[in-house]
Symmetry: C2
Subunit: 216 residues, 2 copies
């Protein structure tokens, strides 16, 4: 499948690299086409390099791997290219302007996922994979046990396709939290995730949802 990946950071590199490995045709998009990170991705993996608009146009499905604080501006700029497509949103509304640990720039009564969906009414936004480090997103086997990934979105067939991609990454416990308003839940999990990182001294963990036997 042709897939666009917006963003050249650790998350974008991990997602785009994994998609190439799985046999997809992948274009990574950056602000400028001569961005060194996007050219590095292309030469290293055989994937394609382009601008944000190029990658949004190229992909049948597009991943938002941008930082939360730039996601809305970039997605607004490429919105025409996202019409009718599935946008997989991995971004988090982290605000480091008041120091660490960060607060959330959007939370409680709204979420970045919802803001993105409202801004792209013809795009099927699915929030997922925003609750673990990039290495675990694309290789859940790094962590033992039945740990979980969450999906939120208004369009059930779109969520089904995203779940197929997640399964191809190795995910087994994929929990559908509901419509896009449920993106508030995994985004507000970030403060606990960051505190756990501090307490454990490593980001190499994820949460599992342990059910009582026989309660399902």
């Amino acid at each position: 499948m042709k897939i666009g990946v917006l963003g050249t950071g650790m998350v974008g590199q991990a997602i785009a690299g994994k998609l190439v490995t799985l046999g997809h045709d992948v274009m990574m998009g950056a602000r400028a086409a001569d961005n060194q990170k996007v050219l590095g991705f292309a030469s290293r993996t055989g994937g394609r390099a382009g601008t944000f608009v190029d990658a949004a146009r190229y992909g049948e499905i597009v991943f938002n791997c941008l930082r939360g604080d730039v996601s809305i501006d970039v997605l607004t700029a490429v919105s025409a290219e996202l019409d009718g497509k599935i946008l997989i949103d991995i971004s988090n509304p982290l605000d480091f302007s008041k120091g660490a640990p960060p607060t959330l720039s959007i939370s409680n009564t709204d979420s970045l996922g919802e803001v993105i969906q409202r801004g792209l009414p013809n795009t099927r936004v699915v929030k997922t994979l925003n609750t673990m480090i990039a290495a675990i997103m694309v290789d859940p086997g790094l962590v033992p046990g039945p740990h979980a990934v969450f999906v939120s979105g208004n369009d059930k067939p779109a969520k089904g396709k995203v779940m197929d991609i997640l399964r191809s990454f190795g995910w087994r416990d994929i929990i559908d939290l509901g419509d896009i308003s449920s993106a508030r839940a995994p985004e507000q999990f970030l403060p606990l995730w960051l505190r756990l990182w501090g307490a454990l001294g490593t980001g190499e963990f994820n949460i599992a949802v342990m059910r009582r036997q026989g309660s399902e």
Copy 2:
């Protein structure tokens, strides 16, 4: 040990009942001493019944099992009785006034745990047990696997005593998130917890923190 339990709901009943079973001298406090739930607790378990102020005075350690929206008023009213004591805060700042799922009345840049600590500067507030249903709080063996409970608080010896109580309840993975400002993390987990309850169709679950092997 003499322990006071503020609140007569499911959490208060579960905590107070468990403490009696473990051999502690427990007084449950209600708004009025003739509250039927507190009298029921006393007659059913052999524990004691009293008012909020009675229970706060009685306990060497006091549990706050009140709803979030009444916690501050009640704790302010009994604050003199809590001087120098450990207050174990289980409450959550859930706001159902805008319908379900609830939002948080305090979040992101503050927490109910911090508000309570600021209001009781001579009390050692430890936030814990606010991330699962009452039955699991006092019987973690209901859920399989290495699932976790979190503690937040400014006073390390107080957290140590609370961890001892948690171990006596059966908890094994007890994670110290940091000072009382880290209470923001488990409180902001509540939206995910509530969405998981909806997705799973049961509250009989808890999260486990799965670490990569060799990463600790």
